[in-house]
Structure formats: C-alpha cells, structure tokens
C-alpha cells in the first residue's frame, strides 16, 4: 500500500513531471518564473489547490457522478468544482488571514482556468485511482511543479545577466532552457518501472 503510494508520488513528481514530460502548465511556468519570490508563492498555492481539488473531485466523481452514470459530464463538473473551490478559498482567506491573502490572492485568481489544476482530477478519473492514490497524485504533481518553478526561476535570474542574441531574447531562450532541463529529467525515466 505505502510502496504503491510512494511509486505514484515519485512518478508524478519526477518521472512524469507535469512541466518537463507532460508539458502542462507551461503558460504559468513561463509567466511567473521571472522572479524567485513569485515562483515560491505560486508553487505553494498550486500544491495546496491541487491536493484539495483532487480530493473534492474524487469524492464528487466517485460518490455522485459514477452511481448516476454522469461520467460524460466530468469536464464540466471538474472545472466547476475547481472554480467554486478557488472562489471559496479566496473569500475565506480574505476574511481570516488578510496578510496571507495579499501575498497569495493574485495567484488564486489565476488558478481557476489552469490546465495543470484540471489535469489532476482528469488523470485520477482516467486511471481509476482510489482516494489515497488520488491525493498522492495531487501532492506529487504539486511537488514536481514547485520543483520546476523554482529551478526555472533560479536559472532565469542568472539569464538576466547573460548576453543573448536579440531574436532569442524573452520566450525563445526560455523554451530552449526548458528543453535542456527536460533533457536532464529524461535521466530519471528508468528510476521506477511502473
């Protein structure tokens, strides 16, 4: 049981890293990695939202939708759950902890329509994971995404000082750097045989 969960965690965090081998969340990945501080805030918020939305959507999908044969509505429902939860968290956080809200609030709004958040419930549903496995996938994916954001932010801070040919400034060089990191992550691919 725990071995199984460990496998899912390592697989989703490193081997099938959302950014480097599943190519999800690229927009956020390129958007927020210009500064280390934003990258750290973003990765914490994302991990929390991923775990909680994995749990919520598992409950709704397996306890409500499957018994009622509503599987075909899963896309609509998952995005509804994520959006509803994020909106709720936004309101509660604003009331209970304004300091944290002003630090993380802007990221919360960006999260609602993000492929990386929606991918977690969709993968859980496709793989027919049980509750603990779903939570682990959410946690592992969040950890993998945080790792990617922090790595990239560190590199981009150095990149600011580099002398890059003009056509490659901005996005093109960011893509090539990501390609190089992905190449390194390829080395993990034999770590666990699933």
């Amino acid at each position: 049981m725990f071995k199984d969960l460990g496998t899912i965690f390592i697989a989703s965090a490193i081997i099938n890293n959302f950014v480097f081998s599943r190519y999800l969340g690229l927009c956020i990945f390129f958007g927020v990695t210009k500064k280390m501080e934003t990258a750290v805030g973003m990765s914490m918020t994302f991990t929390a939202v991923m775990v909680i939305s994995a749990a919520l959507s598992w409950l709704v999908y397996n306890l409500v939708m499957l018994p009622l044969h509503l599987g075909f509505l899963k896309i609509v429902l998952f995005i509804g759950i994520v959006a509803g939860f994020v909106q709720g968290a936004d309101t509660v956080l604003k009331k209970l902890n304004p300091t944290l809200y002003y630090k993380l609030g802007i990221y919360l709004v960006l999260i609602t329509t993000n492929c990386i958040i929606l991918a977690v419930p969709v993968i859980n549903a496709d793989e027919k994971y049980n509750f603990m496995q779903s939570l682990t996938l959410g946690l592992g994916s969040g950890a993998g995404f945080s790792l990617a954001l922090i790595l990239m932010a560190s590199i981009r801070e150095r990149l600011e000082l580099a002398n890059i040919p003009r056509p490659f400034q901005g996005m093109p060089i960011a893509f090539i750097v990501t390609g190089l990191i992905a190449l390194a992550f390829l080395g993990f691919s034999g770590l666990i045989t699933l």
């Binding site: 480097f20 081998s21 599943r22 190519y23 999800l24 969340g25 690229l26 927009c27 956020i28 390129f30 958007g31 075909f72 509505l73 896309i75 609509v76 995005i79 959006a83 960006l110 329509t113 993000n114 492929c115 929606l118 991918a119 969709v122 993968i123 496709d126 040919p165 003009r166 056509p167 490659f168 400034q169 901005g170 996005m171 093109p172 060089i173 960011a174 893509f175 090539i176 990501t178 390609g179 190089l180 992905a182 190449l183 992550f185 390829l186």
Partner: protein
C-alpha cells in the same frame, strides 16, 4: 459598421494566421503545442479539434452576447466551451481511437485553453455572429498551421518520416520527438520568426507567456 466588417474578413483570417498567431506571436496555449506535436497527424487532429471548438464558441458567445450578464460572463463562457469540448472529446473517443489514446488528456484540457476564452472575451462578446465566426476560423487556422508546422519538423527529424510515410528509413535525430525536442523546436522557431521580424524592420514581440 457593416462596411468595415465587410472589408476586414480577409484581414481577420490573416490576422489569426500571421500577425497574431496564437502560438508564435501571442505565446498562448503552449502546452498542447509541445505535447501533441510528435507527428503531423496528431498535430493536425489537435488543430482541427481546436478550430472546431473555437469557431463554435465564438458563434455561441456572439449569439448570446446581449443575454449574458457581464458579471457572470467568465463562468458562462467556460460552460459554453466545456460543452463543445465534451462533444469533441466523445467524438474523437469514438472515431479516432489510436490518436485519442495518445492525446485524450490534452483534448479534455482544451477547455482551459487561454486562446479560446480570450477570443470569446476580446472579440466574440463585442461583435456580430459572422465576424465572430470568421475570427474563430482565422485563429483556429493559425493554431492548426502552427501545430502542423511543429509536428512536421519534429516528425521529419525524429522519425525520418512525414505523415507516416518513411523518408529516411531510420530515426535520424531521436531527440526531436522526445519532450526535450518539442521545447527546442518551438524555441528555435520563435527565434526565427523574431529574426525575420527584425530583418523587416519591425519590433519582435517579446511573448508575454500568459496562460
């Protein structure tokens, strides 16, 4: 109003394909551009799916633009998009089984593509039905073209084939179809387009990398 609309149909199409190409210029919806472009066929299927969803969403949003309360417009758009994505998803699951097994996840994720919601918000919610449809087709074609181009380059270098027809007989540069290759090819293509833009005296778009 109708005069200006008449002249601009051709412009709307070229706008989507060249000057505001979703992938290379706006740097929007990049995830699928890297994920599914390991071959021309997959890129083409994904592009067609997006073209369909984008056109239908633009038409629907445009029809209902005066009925949707501005306060709830984003959830309304997401529901409209999710409806068409579910349709596409089920259709592909039934008729394109092999491709669906490879890229089913990304088909479902069309629902959160920034390019679709941004066109609904920026264009379709302010324009009549026909211009909105044309805008959707133009943007969709731009996306389709970009995916096919990236797919062709990666398939040619990675598998030595085009459209599944083997040209070389071996894998000349396997890296091109690995995850890494997707990032390299897009980075190099963006650099190339910026270089052309600079040569022509323009200002290269320093892609924002928005979602």
């Amino acid at each position: 109003m109708s005069d200006s609309a008449k002249i601009s149909y051709g412009k709307l199409i070229t706008n989507g394909i060249f000057s505001e190409n979703p992938v290379f210029k706006l740097a929007l919806s990049l995830c699928p551009a890297v994920a599914v472009t390991t071959s021309v066929k997959n890129g083409f299927l994904m592009g067609v799916a997006v073209l369909f969803v984008m056109t239908m969403v633009n038409i629907t949003v445009s029809i209902f633009r005066n009925l949707i309360n501005p306060k709830v417009r984003i959830p309304a758009y997401i529901l409209i998009i999710a409806t068409y994505v579910s349709m596409t998803d089920m259709f592909m699951a039934a008729y394109a089984r092999t491709a669906y097994r490879e890229m089913g996840l990304y088909i479902q994720l069309i629902v959160v593509f920034a390019i679709i919601i941004s066109r609904a918000e920026l264009f379709a919610s302010k324009n009549k039905v026909v211009p909105s449809a044309v805008d959707g087709i133009g943007m969709g074609l731009g996306f389709l073209g970009a995916l096919v181009l990236i797919g062709a380059i990666r398939e040619l270098f990675g598998k030595g084939s085009l459209m599944g027809v083997s040209l070389v007989g071996q894998n000349p540069l396997l890296i091109a179809i690995l995850p890494t290759g997707g990032f390299f090819v897009i980075g190099l293509l963006m650099g190339l387009f910026n270089w052309i833009e600079i040569k022509r005296g323009g200002n290269p778009s320093s892609g924002g990398g928005h979602h």
